[in-house]
């Protein structure tokens, strides 16, 4: 339930803050998203540059990079995920507590990027874990990462606490643990998580 905007601004002039529980709750959640200190490849360098003084990700409440997945809210998949690394990425995601979000940073994390034809490269991390924001680029500029972060904050802000579209941790039936792929004979087994990813239909 949203508060009437006019009433809100009128009350604010009187020094009274009127808000709903949902807004307050989401404001708190989006203002301190702690990413995981986890770099995969080239994009990780741009991710580090984003946290440095020039772009200063701290402005968005995300300066604390946690080395442990147990303390992190956001997984930035920054670089090429190989078939050897994919089980580890899924396992790290499973170890993160809810609420958790994923940014797929760069062409490799989205689709395999320039290395897509390679025999050892996973063609997109969204085959195994749900991705909230994709950023194209090879590597994306720090501004792009900041924009992805702002998009994520908007997404968190818009999440209702009840009913359709509520975050996963408020939904008892939602999938919590994602199956970790195993190295198979030719490829990872299974090749994708059917619950999160379906083969895209090519319209000719």
């Amino acid at each position: 339930m949203a508060v009437d905007e006019q009433l809100k601004s009128e009350m604010a002039r009187q020094g009274i803050v009127v808000t709903s529980l949902q807004e307050l709750y989401n404001w708190g959640r989006r203002s301190s998203v702690w990413p995981m200190n986890f770099g995969l490849a080239c994009c990780a360098i741009e991710m580090i540059a984003t946290t440095m003084a020039r772009w200063d990700m701290a402005r968005f409440g995300a300066e604390v990079f946690r080395p442990s997945p147990r303390q992190a809210d956001l997984l930035i998949v920054s670089g090429t995920v190989t078939k050897k690394m994919a089980p580890q990425v899924v396992r790290l995601y499973n170890q993160m507590p809810e609420p958790r979000y994923v940014i797929a940073m760069g062409a490799c994390a989205i689709s395999g990027g320039p290395f897509k034809q390679g025999y050892n490269v996973l063609k997109g991390i969204d085959r195994y874990i749900p991705v909230d924001v994709h950023i194209p680029g090879c590597p994306p500029r720090p501004e792009a990462l900041l924009q992805a972060f702002i998009e994520l904050q908007k997404k968190i802000d818009a999440q209702p606490l009840t009913g359709e579209g509520r975050p996963r941790f408020l939904d008892v039936d939602a999938q919590g643990e994602f199956p970790v792929p195993e190295p198979g004979e030719h490829d990872l087994e299974p090749t994708s998580n059917k619950g999160v990813w379906t083969v895209p239909v090519v319209i000719k």
Binding site: N37, L40, M52, A53, P67, T80, T82, K84, Q117, P139
Partner: protein, 395 residues
């Protein structure tokens, strides 16, 4: 209590002979060995690198590196596409120094096809390579300090300067990190006078940064206590194991491919090769500091002398060529060591064999020798001082 170490073959009485065997460290305590897997997700393994350690208390008894978490089929892709199409992939080898990778690959192809490079392009290559070396070394020192627990400040200082250099790269090549700038027989675009002036301005400001950086770190008590006498690499082992770059020179071996090969136009510049005395982590840190100063000397000279003229040889064939059957090896002194590309042509439009000699991988081979007997916290420092980039190690 049985010792796990004995079962696994530790505690051998006889010391193995030969340079390529790590020294055997005897277990001193009665307790069990602790096996620790560091990585692939670890904040200080510089990417997705894994070390399997066997620890006796805090001492490292055995270290087994495990690679391949970032194997991106670089060489296989190179064999399946034309010579030019591999150029953007070389950017992603050592993603901190794309321009030196470009140069090494261009050099190999130029050797294979016998192309000439115009003067101005050679100067531009030197300017860009030395800027790359500067930002890589500054970043490496920053990350080394980060590994030491000095979280933030030195890395922030280094990245402040790095951003200035990356802005120059972006203005000239269109990309901050993946420059894809050099071509066979020259460079892709010419530098404008405004760009050269901007570069002169940035380079003029770098000595002040170096003075500040050095005053901040050089005689810091904690840094000296943590790094001096840690991770010693003896010069004979370094030579025998094929170590190159700052790691070799910190052990006191005078070997710099810029001086040995005189590739490009490096014989025209007046610069020194700093050498270490002890071969420990502190020496590697200081070598990088001093090399940055020498890079600035080269930059000053190159920016003063840069001539006019074309940046690409007008006769050069950049795309769609078929070199005569043969082989070529081009190598340069990249910020991490000897970066070489080995190409075999069978007369087709693609290389028959495309091989990269990555300095990071070969410098990593002595990691166990340097780390045995050290504390586990020092292994992090030793790894940081080797300066690896996983894109180059795994390719």
């Amino acid at each position: 209590m049985t010792k796990i170490g004995t079962k696994l073959g530790f505690g051998r009485k006889k010391k193995p002979e030969g340079w390529n065997r790590p020294p055997v460290i005897e277990q001193t305590s009665e307790g069990e060995l602790l096996e620790v897997a560091m990585g692939p997700h670890h904040p200080s393994t510089h990417g997705v690198f894994r070390m399997n350690l066997a620890l006796d208390g805090e001492r490292v008894i055995r270290l087994k590196p495990e690679f391949g978490y970032l194997h991106r089929n670089h060489e296989k892709l190179g064999e399946g596409q034309s010579y030019l199409a591999s150029m953007p992939y070389t950017d992603r080898l050592d993603y901190l120094c794309s321009l030196t990778n470009n140069w090494a690959y261009a050099l190999a192809v130029e050797k294979l096809t016998g192309q000439q490079v115009p003067e101005r392009a050679e100067y531009l290559r030197v300017i860009l390579s030395e800027l790359t070396r500067f930002q890589n070394h500054a970043g490496t020192i920053g990350f080394l300090m980060q590994d030491m627990g000095c979280s933030g400040t030195p890395l922030m200082y280094a990245f402040r300067e790095r951003e200035k250099i990356l802005d120059l790269f972006e203005e000239l090549t269109g990309s901050r990190m993946m420059c894809n700038y050099m071509r066979f027989g020259g460079c892709r675009v010419d530098a404008t006078p405004a760009w050269l002036d901007a570069t002169r301005k940035v380079v003029a400001g770098l000595p002040a940064f170096l003075d500040e950086f050095e005053a901040l770190l050089r005689s810091n008590e904690i840094l000296m206590a943590r790094t001096q006498g840690v991770g010693i690499l003896p010069p004979d082992l370094a030579v025998n194991a094929g170590i190159t770059g700052p790691l070799l020179r910190a052990s006191g071996v005078n070997y710099d491919i810029r001086k040995v090969d005189h590739y490009g136009i490096y014989d025209r510049f007046n610069f020194k090769v700093p050498l270490g005395d002890h071969g420990d982590v502190y020496d590697r840190f200081m070598i990088r500091m001093l090399e940055m100063r020498e890079s600035l000397k080269i930059l000053d000279q190159a920016l003063k002398e840069i001539p006019g003229g074309p940046v690409v040889d007008p006769k050069a064939k950049i795309r769609g060529f078929r070199p005569k059957p043969g082989e070529a090896y081009g190598r340069i002194e990249s910020p991490k060591g000897e970066l070489g590309f080995y190409l075999i042509s069978d007369g087709g439009p693609n290389p028959y064999r495309y091989r990269v000699r990555p300095p990071s991988l070969i410098n990593l081979t002595v990691l166990e020798d340097m780390s045995l007997g050290q504390n586990v916290a020092d292994v992090v420092l030793i790894l940081g001082s080797v300066d690896i980039v996983m894109g180059e190690v795994d390719r």
